[in-house]
Amino acid sequence: MNEQGSIWLPESASTVAGDVDALFYFILVTSAIIFVGVMGAMVTFAWRYRRRSENDRPEPVRESKLVEASWIAIPSILVAVVFVWGFRVFLELGIAPPNSYEINVTARKWSWTFTYPNGAVSTDLHVPVNRPVKLRMISDDVVHSFFVPAFRVKADVLQGRYSYVWFEATRVDTFNIVCAEYCGTAHSDMYANVVVQSQDDFEGWLVENMDDGSLTPAQRGERSYELEGCWPCHSLDGTTLAGPTFLGLAGSTRNFTDGTSAVADDNYLRMSIVNPAQQVVEGFLPVMPQQYALDLSTEEIDALVEFIKEQQ
């Protein structure tokens, strides 16, 4: 049950992890004992009473009510213990302390965005150490699931309703966030990091990442490209992901599945973002989210178009 983890469990770095792990090992060991007992009896009987000749005629065994009762009673007691214990740790996992620091989380195919109380936004989750953090999570599209193995926390992220998860990191380090609910093509690439920082570092980071308006449109476009999650589908280096690459996109001639084609000018780029299903580029499925028309402001879309045009 150390921080480094074992063959059974990964390193642990949150306050609840210890309780979860203790329960885990308790059931594991109890199960192992039951298992070894049952298997021991099985192997012993199979060997001790093996058939010696075709004419073996075993005497019927009188069934013992006591034995029958005991193997009803003992497992019942065990599961009762495990249930109560599991229930208490579950409540601990479910109820965030009132002084928790709150961060908003948006999940979409196939990226995460984290928004902090001061307006800072990031693609990796930054949290202060030794302070309870509560995440308020929502999805733009299908069901995702927020999972940090090192913290032993997980919760599904749904469209149209908030779900919550809380934890208190105990160590300054970087851990993986993975998406645990199947969400399509790049489900296995939908990962991010939790960067646990000291309180000072965290506050410094927060200030640095506040949007102070000093960026150029193309730079702001780049930020949106990161934060709004265009990158899992659109590469900047020419590789084809779920969507066409942005490299060399602006100004090129696009062919659509309906047989038509068009030159990618500003208006085309804009339309592709706000109404992606209207013209679907040949060789791709219409999987780009429809959400952006609602989520992005006009400035943000302009900035994105500016950014795409720079990718030549």
Partner: protein
């Protein structure tokens, strides 16, 4: 006894005599061929899955390809193999004979079920091959599924149609057990396999309609956006999950109960001992069948259902461990002071005990609220359900097929080959799936095409996955070996005696080497229990040597 020309195989000839048969034994064989083919398909898909995961990075499949393959693997294995297989193959072949009936209550409905099942299977395969990607996972969660390709329409229809096949099969067996028993075949003289199929029938009849309507609603959601499950239209995706698991949890007992029935029969026969706790085992099947309806929410501990329901579901989940434990303990106790004959079927029965106990105990682990938060949707769950489904239900089926093989085909298989294959399967299975417990509890999510990006923090993912992949190849070799010696036995195997195992149920004691077309010339009169080896001293039938 039986004079070759009158048995059920030789009584009629030609393709049509098979395709239009209402003989429950022949329908059983139709199911065997269909399910065997689908198992081969599902297994090949599984081998692709394992090969892709064997090494980090893209090995043989891209992301979309992988997602399709594991979805089909799950759908094929669940809906086309394990749910229909045991009731379809062995339930059909054995159950009517075991209760002394000449056929099931509705033979034509029985045949119709097989055709419905095949229609469902063809629809699924058609949708996959010609309509589009099916990459939803076997759970079809909305809104992902309602936004996926039109192939989902075909798959949901397939599940709907195959579901009705399952309903009619269950209905048929319930009525058969109630109304068709031979004189003297009282409820407490029923072989435990019959009890198990009976309990399964209850689950099939009560649970399957719900997946039927769920699939209809999902179909309509996809076709015309009726907004019941899609949150973008005001629907509720969690409601879908409730509907889905309300069927699919009981469905896991549709898979395991018949296998438990097989194990009970094997334990009795190969220990030459009254099965210990007969009444407990019989009634625990029914208890499991009913409790199974109350625990579906344990698949949704982190899905956004209320904490209170999670707590209730967790509690009820544990209750299922009790009747299951009763069975396990009684099976082991049956061997006590018996005469244990370690033939291939018995080896599979012991293997079942081993693997199913691991699967079941890890089921209890994931049923613990706080622990499941960590384990949900990781490979730990994958390992759990392969231990119960493959290690439990399928190993039970394989054991049962060996046991009844002489009665079905009239020939023996090679015992040595049988034992070697069993050992290979056992080793291969554990090497494949045991490492997945470590993978899962250490944090590897399921349905992952690749884990390269996680290696810096989780370097052990690579070796564990590799071991698992190697295991799956060993497993495949073992299964292939079974296929080979089974085919060999079919054509070249030595003729079997009427009762090679010295069993005491009617299919062994009251039929010839191969059963007659109508099972019995005259309805047997039953005067003793199914495992009463003392009263049936001459149960070993005359040996036929040629």
């Amino acid at each position: 006894m039986s004079e070759g020309s009158h048995n059920y195989l030789s009584a009629r000839k030609g393709l049509w005599s098979w395709l239009a048969t209402t003989d429950h034994k022949r329908i059983g064989i139709l199911y065997a061929m269909a399910c065997g083919t689908f198992f081969l398909l599902g297994g090949i898909l599984a081998t692709f899955v394992r090969t892709e995961l064997g090494t980090p990075g893209e090995t043989i499949l891209d992301q979309d390809g992988y997602n399709q393959i594991f979805t089909l693997h799950g759908v094929v294995m669940v809906f086309l193999v394990i749910i229909p297989a045991i009731p379809g193959i062995l339930g059909n072949f054995v159950l009517p004979i075991q209760i002394g009936a000449k056929d099931v209550a509705f033979p034509r409905l029985n045949l119709a079920s097989w055709y419905l099942f095949m229609a469902g299977a063809l629809m699924a395969v058609f949708g996959w091959l010609f309509v589009g990607n099916v990459d939803t996972g076997w759970t079809f969660y909305t809104p992902y599924s309602s936004g996926a390709s039109n192939a989902v329409l075909w798959l949901t229809s397939a599940v709907f149609v195959a579901g009705f096949a399952s309903i009619f099969t269950g209905l048929n067996f319930i009525v058969t057990v109630h109304k068709m028993r031979a004189p003297g075949m009282t409820w407490n003289r029923l072989p435990l396999f019959v009890w198990a199929i009976y309990a399964t029938g209850i689950v099939q009849v009560l649970a399957t309609p719900v997946i039927g309507i769920t699939m209809v609603l999902l179909f309509l959601e996809k076709l015309m956006q009726i907004g019941i499950f899609d949150p973008a239209l005001g629907g509720d995706p969690v409601l879908f999950q409730h509907f889905f698991w309300f069927y699919s949890h009981p469905a896991v007992y549709i898979m395991i109960l018949p296998a438990m029935g097989i194990i009970s029969d094997l334990m009795g026969t190969f220990s030459r001992q009254q099965v210990s706790g007969y009444t407990f085992i019989a009634l625990s099947s029914v208890a499991i069948a009913f409790l199974g309806f109350l625990v579906w929410g344990h698949h949704m501990f982190v899905a956004g259902q209320s904490a209170l329901s999670s707590i209730i579901f967790s509690m009820l989940t544990f209750l299922i461990g009790i009747p299951t434990g009763i069975k396990v303990f009684n099976w082991v106790a049956t061997m006590y002071k018996g005469s244990v004959w370690l033939r291939t079927p018995m080896i599979y029965a012991l293997m079942f005990l081993f693997l199913f106990s691991i699967g079941g105990l890890t089921g209890i682990m994931v049923g613990v609220l706080a622990v499941d938060v960590h384990l949900h949707d990781t490979y730990f769950v994958v390992a759990h359900f392969h231990y119960v489904m493959m290690g439990g239900a399928l190993i039970g089926l394989i054991g049962g097929l060996h046991y009844w093989w002489p009665k079905i085909t009239g020939r023996m298989y090679n015992e040595t080959a049988g034992v070697i294959a069993a050992i290979l399967v056992f080793i291969g299975f554990n090497v494949t799936f045991f490492p997945q417990f470590f993978l899962g509890s250490r944090g590897m999510p399921r349905r992952y095409h690749d884990y390269t990006e996680l290696l810096p923090n989780f370097p052990e993912f690579a070796p564990l996955n590799l071991v698992s992949t190697i295991g799956s190849y060993i497993l495949a070799v073992g299964l292939l070996m079974i296929l080979v010696y089974a085919l060999y036995s079919l054509f070249k195997g030595p003729k079997a005696p009427a009762n090679p195992w010295g069993a005491c149920t009617l299919e062994w004691t009251h039929t010839g080497r191969l059963p007659d077309e109508h099972n019995f010339h005259e309805t047997p009169l039953v005067t003793r229990g199914p495992y009463d080896f003392r009263l049936a001293d001459d149960v070993f039938g005359p040996k036929e040597e040629d």
